[in-house]
Symmetry: D2
Subunit: 334 residues, 4 copies
């Protein structure tokens, strides 16, 4: 950590600060320039409150030289992490196509969609059993029943299943779920992150609507710090003033996350836009800038879906999308 | 709900839509204008997916005429809700002054600060025992011990205590806590909201960093729908591009929340700005535009605080602030 | 326009409003539902202040049924506009590759870069002669000299030239410039828009950092209302809380703008990200979601560029980018 | 400026960078820590492109130690600037109350409102003659006639007048206007800023909707660099995701601007909220956190106003507001 002092700092003030830092067990390296004095801190500065030091009236600015994340940091783990779920791999050049309905509704519905998306090229099935809804009066998911129906769909199609966990108390129900999804609203539910950090199971971690990509990585770090290193990051749009789409899909986050971390990064164009006809162009764009996979809502009957029908593709639209995605990937790999 | 059809909608398409709506048990009122046809829906439209209808290619736009919130809605409850905690009242002209450290650290610290803020005019004590931290490597709070220390401070000073709950499994520890705080990151942790909706205890609900004020009210509605109508709303800054303060304090939310809901609204200028010297001006501003209270971080030794020292006032600064707040309230009540 | 009245509106209040509207020369169509009364307005409502009507205490909400833009509206002009500049076409399936330095610096520099980008596949040359800079102490461009050097580069390479106009008084200097660029900061400089609306010359109109896509279209409408219908829209990133890139590139705006307007839409990944190594992935993404062209900064010597060197590609990087763009376009056209 | 190098930088790379810096006429101060090497730059670094240096692959981060603004910087001018317009003073403890209609409409209207606001305690009159409107089809102001009517109102009431300039070519018309307003959309119209920098007349500079407070100060610096040091800064709301008000009023900007600059800072609650009933609470809040004045829209007949009627106060509402403002100021000055 580097502390840059203000010009008018007295020697006494400077020494007080240095002594305080040394009392914390850190070593100090002082550098006096013509216009400014810099204090370099050597040792484990993770215990220091950077905001507090910035607020001291003798301090001009503070810069943390080392990233606050370690396990998820590409600097210390240069190769891509590859996560394997059954036969499916994600990351390191492996692309995953996750598809399915927003909510599991009936056995017929989930079986029907599972078969359709499998034929279209999906290699994993998504479906919500526990649904986070803004209103307490909206449909909240089939819960246990939904989980059971997903398992039936898996045994019929062989597709691994992804479903959202909202509450660590429901973990016993998720024992046979292949990938646990943590939704955007729970990205900083740190107690939940800690619990899933104890599992040996891939986690699909969605970026919160107001979270920086550094915060997304820090939330992955929470899970990894518990021992579970199988984290898939997911960009799904952020909140901005722009109001034509539900959220603003921040695609530059994909190459940036790849630079900072070795974890795979996928994109959810369905929730990001909220509009079915924008899903294909945004899926192509996400693929073109290097995503490791896509999670897309597909419904055989969007107009009668229990929720989020507006953003669901029909099966035939997904078939076309899957073909173009393959072609774009071919271009990139040349 | 009002559906406005596009001009080029055929009679057949229009009839299909009407039939589909009627199948949902709703009554339709058709109004043909010169330039547009409007379908008015009568009945309980809460089951309808407004985004789905908007996405139909014959629909120009859809407008929900009735608010999706009921229990928290001022239309159905015109008088201010007044929440009583011991001798302290909040709302309906009663102002509360909540103060204390970010984290409970030691018995000496919390007792010291509790006495100081009481003398300065605070009528409730805050202190974090469970701390949501962005990094898994940061101090996470004293947990059970912190809760016990808060109780000691209460029995010494008589101040009711406020502390943050992050996990419903910790509820037994909070049985004797006077007000349970739900932090910004958990504003849409719907399972947690449902659990505290079963309590008979005031809840301090903070607005999430990317949440609209309607979403804040909907989260209060979750708690109230469970039977717990004692909800205090709290504005604490939103995420914007503006980077001089940690967040942007959205003070216009105060009169707006008062207009939409009967619940009391308080403001947290400490977390909103992250800078101690901006806390007094923002506290004055919040009071001047009608807040029902303030929650402010005070620490006897900010430079040695375990967290958020940068935004804590010293006791003497809080004394001065409390006096000015009283004077501003006098002006408003004239 | 549709006005939805509140339930408790008296007949007298309702009649007053209707009379006021009719006095403005509009016809009213009244529709009384069980729960709400709707007033449909027939006639030219463009003179009405929608915010004012919304603010009346008897009004629940107001909805403008017709778009406020006409000339730029795809509804009234279903085919893509194709803009021709010399041999180059933009829109309607024609893709343009605009490249060049942020600023024109010397004759050698601009000639060198012009030849390089032409060989790499660019079909238009960009270069700033008048530079909008946040600081009055920064380099402000070569001005007249810069324009002259661009013309020399054009005559040497045959590439049409694009350059930014900041002040209508400089228009005589731009007489021989092929495409006039209006920068993000001037997107709502309405006097400037009016002036260029009088020209017979293509305009490249960049989206402002805080502007909605509807406002971008309205600014195009300003230019078109003056008689100049050759407007190219350009997405170049918006301001959000996300701080890893200079701005957040809003790629969903591309398919959305294509839906609302018939004007061509191009993307500037250089200014959107501010980071050279993010330019290729974002250029691929923009192409994949349907952009009609790209404007990219290329510099033979980024480290010595007068400005924005951090976001400039080297010529060899541009060559590679141009090849991949062609391949992605082939995939999309299949 | 401080450059922090990455750990794996070779001595050769380091020397190349140092040589390049020294070739620019700067002196280098090298400091090698255990974990990082820091290069301190001494001399005039304003010519350096901080983004470019950041982008070098051997550079971890760069920090500019000195502010890029000088004339507007409180560090070099510790006392408040006081701007005098006739008998009215702004700044340094002097509060100004600017009021009037959004647009000048008729002689009767402007005279009527001018008298009313004067009686209510306003000491300056605002009124738009040139109006920036999003749509080319909206009312654009009375222009020359509007300016003439303002002068009549001034001679009748003695109130100095404020009006918005959109185009430097209109400056001759503004010769007798007391304060020239630069609107939010023109905050970074640098050519316009340069032109008004040549005047000897106070400028009211509004913050742009997507501009940081540092950018606002830099735009003031443009004006001051031309020789005109009479700049009044104005906070009027920024664009955020929050959609209940037209913009989000960023009141923490007031104490922050006062800290960074010696220029007076006023607030426009009318445009910030767009809702008349939110203007009084936001005006009180702005006063309470230290604003040097308020600019507020008042209209005798808001429902018939040509524009922005929704946000205009009626005269009697302004009277009440002005009284409370005085009382709040009394509290603050104690």
């Amino acid at each position: 950590m580097i502390i840059i002092l203000k010009n008018n700092t007295s020697l006494e003030q400077q020494n007080n600060l240095i002594q305080w830092i040394e009392n914390l067990g850190l070593t100090v390296h002082l550098s006096k320039g013509k216009f400014h004095t810099i204090i370099g801190l050597i040792g484990d500065t993770s215990c220091l409150d950077i905001d507090l030091i910035s607020s001291l009236n003798i301090v001009d600015s503070v810069e943390r030289v080392m990233d606050p994340f370690k396990l998820s940091n590409r600097k210390f783990h240069p190769e891509d992490t590859v996560i394997q779920i059954g036969n499916v791999k994600i990351g390191g050049g492996n692309f995953c196509m996750i598809a399915g309905p927003c909510s599991v509704e009936t056995e017929k519905q989930i079986l029907n969609i599972a078969k359709v998306v499998k034929n279209a090229g999906a290699n994993m099935l998504r479906g919500g059993a526990f649904k986070p809804r803004t209103s307490p009066y909206d449909f909240q998911g089939l819960k246990e029943t939904g989980i059971e129906l997903l398992k039936i769909a898996r045994s019929e199609t062989g597709l691994p299943i992804v479903s959202e966990l909202m509450n660590a108390n429901d973990l016993p129900l998720f024992e046979n779920i292949d990938v646990i999804q943590i939704g955007a609203r729970n990205m900083q539910n740190f107690d939940l992150l800690r619990e899933i950090g104890k599992l040996h199971k891939p986690i699909l971690l969605k970026r919160g609507l107001a979270n920086t990509i550094k915060e997304l990585i820090m939330s992955a770090e929470y899970i990894m710090a518990g021992g579970n290193e199988q984290v898939i990051l997911c960009e799904r749009g952020i909140r901005t003033f722009s109001d034509y789409t539900r959220n603003t899909l921040d695609l530059a986050a994909i190459p940036m996350l790849h630079e900072l971390s070795h974890l795979p990064v996928i994109v959810d164009p369905s929730h990001a836009t909220g509009i079915a006809r924008l899903v294909p162009p945004m899926a192509y764009a996400a693929t073109a800038c290097g995503a490791d996979g896509l999670i897309i809502e597909v419904h055989n009957d969007p107009i009668h879906a229990f929720c989020d029908g507006a953003q669901s593709l029909k099966p035939e639209q997904y078939v076309e999308l899957a073909q173009k995605i393959k072609q774009i990937r071919n271009v990139l790999q040349k």
